[in-house]
């Protein structure tokens, strides 16, 4: 209950304020906010297929947001979910073509490949921090770009599929496709995996020794270090698991949506997911809610672009405003809490 109140005074208030600001921006741009927002709303939630598409976007944001959540809780500013997502997708797409196994096994193998790819990509930044003290914000940013160029290179060369028309891998065998949840839509069981991951993450934080030590190293690194937490190991492990969750997301996009790997995999989910994780106050279950909200923005943005001539990129402005306003709101609420206790 207390948490709900905090969310209303914090994230939800921030979202409302951001929407108001976005409406003003639309007015300035000469678009009626009512038209804009109704196009967004109906585009995202107006029917079965729209809702399914919104859930597809929700899923795509949920995995990297959960990965970011884990890293941030460990005190590691992992800005690299985008790269981890791509490398995870690349790993799945790269081996998918050569996989001839029964459906269940194929899918599991590809998802694990995604975890390994993303996990390794995250672990690079973790190891650099643990070994050299390299700032993970910079290293993960650099790794994002390296991931994109590496993927571009591989899909136009070594991993380029035989029958593929452009820079992409070959189409996966159909038994490696994720089962569709609602017929005639792109919504697959990936969303169930994502929700399960969120529940698992919360359980890990609350109940396990690993989660306890992870939170300690994020909340009070000096105290954690002095109380039996191996910080170097925790840094690498947290970055690896964080990357693995994002990489799993990349693999679900490859096996569930694209059925191959190409660099259209992510229009920046890894960056938007930072906002998702922060809006939800780094709580895995609230991240599911926040991802749905941002899923509405992402899916609705496309519809808004089609019907109200508001380009989809305007959505990024709204997301940016939410981040800024939220960050400021948090200060305002904590200041008022301080005053209340004095």
């Amino acid at each position: 209950m207390k948490r709900a109140r905090r969310l209303i005074s914090g994230p939800i208030g921030a979202i409302v304020l951001a929407i108001v600001l976005a409406g003003i921006a639309m007015l300035i741009a000469g678009v009626s906010p009512i038209d804009g927002f109704s196009a967004l709303f109906f585009g995202a939630l107006g029917g079965k297929s729209q809702i399914a598409e919104t859930l597809v976007q929700t899923t795509a944001l949920l995995f990297p947001a959960l990965g970011i959540c884990l890293a941030f809780r460990a005190g590691l500013f992992n800005i690299g979910a985008e790269g981890q997502l791509i490398v995870g997708g690349l790993a799945a797409g790269g081996i998918g073509e050569h996989l001839h196994a029964p459906a269940f096994i194929s899918i599991v193998v590809l998802l694990i490949a995604g975890c390994i790819g993303g996990g390794l990509w995250g672990a690079i930044a973790g190891a650099m921090k643990a070994r050299f003290g390299a700032n993970e914000i910079i290293s993960t940013l650099m790794l994002n770009f390296i991931a994109i160029y590496l993927a571009n290179y591989l899909v136009s060369g070594a991993l380029r599929g035989g029958g593929a028309s452009g820079a992409e891998t070959a189409t996966l065998p159909t038994n490696a496709w994720l089962p569709v949840l609602i017929p005639d839509t792109r919504l697959t069981i990936a969303i169930l995996i994502a929700i399960a991951a969120a529940i698992a993450l919360r359980f890990i934080f609350q109940r396990t020794v690993f989660g306890y030590e992870l939170r300690a190293s994020g909340d009070a690194p000096q105290a954690a270090r002095r109380n039996g937490v191996n910080m170097a190991r925790m840094t690498i492990l947290a970055m690896m698991v964080s990357g693995a969750i994002a990489g799993l997301g990349g693999a679900t996009i490859v096996t569930g949506i694209l059925h191959r790997f190409n660099t259209a995999l992510s229009p920046g989910y890894g960056y938007t997911a930072i906002a998702v994780a922060l809006v939800a106050d780094l709580d895995p279950l609230w991240i599911c809610v926040a991802a749905f909200g941002f899923g509405i923005l992402e899916a609705g943005g496309l519809a808004m672009q089609a019907s109200a001539q508001v380009p989809k990129d305007a959505i990024h402005v709204i997301e940016g405003l939410i981040i800024l306003v939220l960050a400021a709101r948090r200060y305002v609420t904590s200041a008022s809490e301080r005053e209340a206790t004095q």
Partner: protein
């Protein structure tokens, strides 16, 4: 929480006025209000001329030079640029006037603590303050440095500056001040003339009654639980080297010394967060009380329960497989809270909501929980009230009486003399003196702490 209420204080030119009180009585808050850092909710501060404040923890810029620190904000100019020659000349002139020798080109971060304080003092003097506030100015100084410091302050007062010294060291108050005000629970409860009072009388006013007694001691057992041999750790001025000593079960060994003489390197190496050379052997379980409870011991936004098991999260009894045993954690927390009188609304409140004394009792309780064979106590009573401090010291003595080996590192010589069985003196990273209980000589320890021969 009100830190200070109804405080009236008058300072006169040429007078050294001491403001004394327990930790947490509101002295520093009052000083900060007077300086203008903290805004009073009601009432006024009237000062004739500028006010200077020398902090307990200096507010200097370590990576800038001495002259840059002193002249910051009042840089002499030559066109757009700083007139460096004029700035340095001003610093030298200031240093001469006050008989405080200083190299204006030195980088502050490489200077010893005593010299850094000189820089901070010169920075305030540059503004020619009519009122000078000194917050615990001698906390980090060796006895010899303290005498030199008060010589300077006395000279300043003689020139007409009004000086307010905030301190809890009563002997200094008696030696150097003219008037004394005592604070308790945020109020000034007594004004007195120094010549008409005694240390004991001031102490009684501060505490508001008799001082709590500390548990009696029993005999020691001979086996060493802790042994360091040719031990070294750390780099630079904070390192420790060639240290060889033992701590036996059933004794408290006190490490005396001025802050910054290698204590942190020693504590960090024992806590396992700093690599060391030489031999270090600790037998049996250990409990660690770090110096900084806010950063090094507690996770402030966690509950008492979660904090109570920090450090033992991998020990049997606290976890089952990969899962934490929350019921066991709660039972542990309950027993710590009861034994150590941690006052909290419930076990689920965040550690940050506790007062400093209660936080420290939780930290000490956690370290002593499960009766460890070896205990490292680094400044175990820093910044807490006398009641909590006495409880902490009592529990340490009790742990000793049941056979624990306790290494006590403290910057407060009085604390060491109160509960330690043996005393080692640390100066510039080396053990320069060893005293058995029967042979403890306060003035000899003081001289060794300052680097002088005993």
């Amino acid at each position: 929480m009100v830190a200070v209420a109804d405080a009236s204080l008058e300072l006169y030119p040429g007078e050294i006025h001491a403001l004394v009180g327990e930790n947490g009585a509101g002295k520093s808050t009052l000083a900060n209000i007077a300086f203008g850092t903290v805004r009073p909710d009601e009432g006024t501060i009237d000062a004739i001329g500028t006010v200077g404040l020398v902090h307990q923890h200096f507010e200097l810029v370590g990576r800038l030079r001495v002259w840059q620190n002193i002249m910051l904000g009042r840089e002499p100019r030559k066109g757009f640029t700083i007139d460096v020659a004029a700035a340095k000349a001003r610093v030298v002139e200031l240093a001469c006037d006050n008989q405080l020798e200083i190299d204006p080109d030195a980088y502050v971060e490489y200077l010893p603590i005593g010299i850094q304080q000189r820089v901070e003092l010169l920075r305030e003097l540059e503004r020619d303050p009519k009122v000078l506030l000194l917050d615990e100015p001698t906390a980090a100084l060796a006895p010899a440095e303290i005498d030199a410091f008060f010589a300077t302050i006395t000279r300043l007062a003689a020139r007409g500056t009004a000086v307010l010294i905030v301190t809890h060291k009563l002997q200094e108050v008696i030696n150097f001040s003219q008037r004394i005000s005592v604070m308790r629970h945020g109020r000034i409860i007594a004004h007195m003339a120094t010549e008409a009072t005694t240390v004991d009388a001031i102490a009684r006013e501060m505490v508001g009654g008799e001082l709590p007694r500390i548990a009696a001691r029993s005999t020691t057992e001979p086996s060493a639980c802790f042994a360091a041999e040719e031990f070294g750790a750390g780099v630079g001025s904070g390192r420790i080297e060639q240290a060889s000593f033992e701590v036996h079960g059933g004794e408290i060994v006190g490490i005396a010394g001025v802050e910054g003489n290698g204590q942190s390197a020693l504590a960090d190496a024992i806590a396992g967060v700093l690599p060391y050379s030489g031999k270090l052997s600790i037998s049996g379980t250990r409990g660690i009380i770090p110096q900084d409870r806010l950063k090094e011991a507690l996770v402030l936004n966690w509950s008492i329960v979660e904090n109570a098991i920090l450090g033992r999260q991998r020990n049997p009894g606290v976890h089952r497989g990969i899962l934490l045993d929350h019921r066991a954690a709660r039972a542990d927390a309950q027993s710590i809270v009861e034994r150590f009188d941690v006052r909290a609304a419930s076990l689920d409140v965040a550690a940050k909501t506790l007062s400093g004394g209660n936080q420290q009792k939780l930290v000490v309780g956690r370290a002593l929980h499960g009766e460890p064979r070896f205990v490292l106590a680094y400044q175990p009573t820093r910044g807490i009230d006398v009641g909590a401090a006495a409880l902490v010291q009592s529990r340490l003595v009790e742990a000793r009486n049941r056979g624990a080996a306790i290494l006590l590192i403290s910057f407060e010589l009085d604390e060491i003399l109160t509960i330690a069985d043996r005393v080692l003196v640390l100066y510039r990273g080396r053990i320069v003196g060893r005293f058995e209980r029967s042979a403890i000589d306060r003035s000899a320890i003081g001289r060794l702490m300052a680097g002088a021969p005993a």
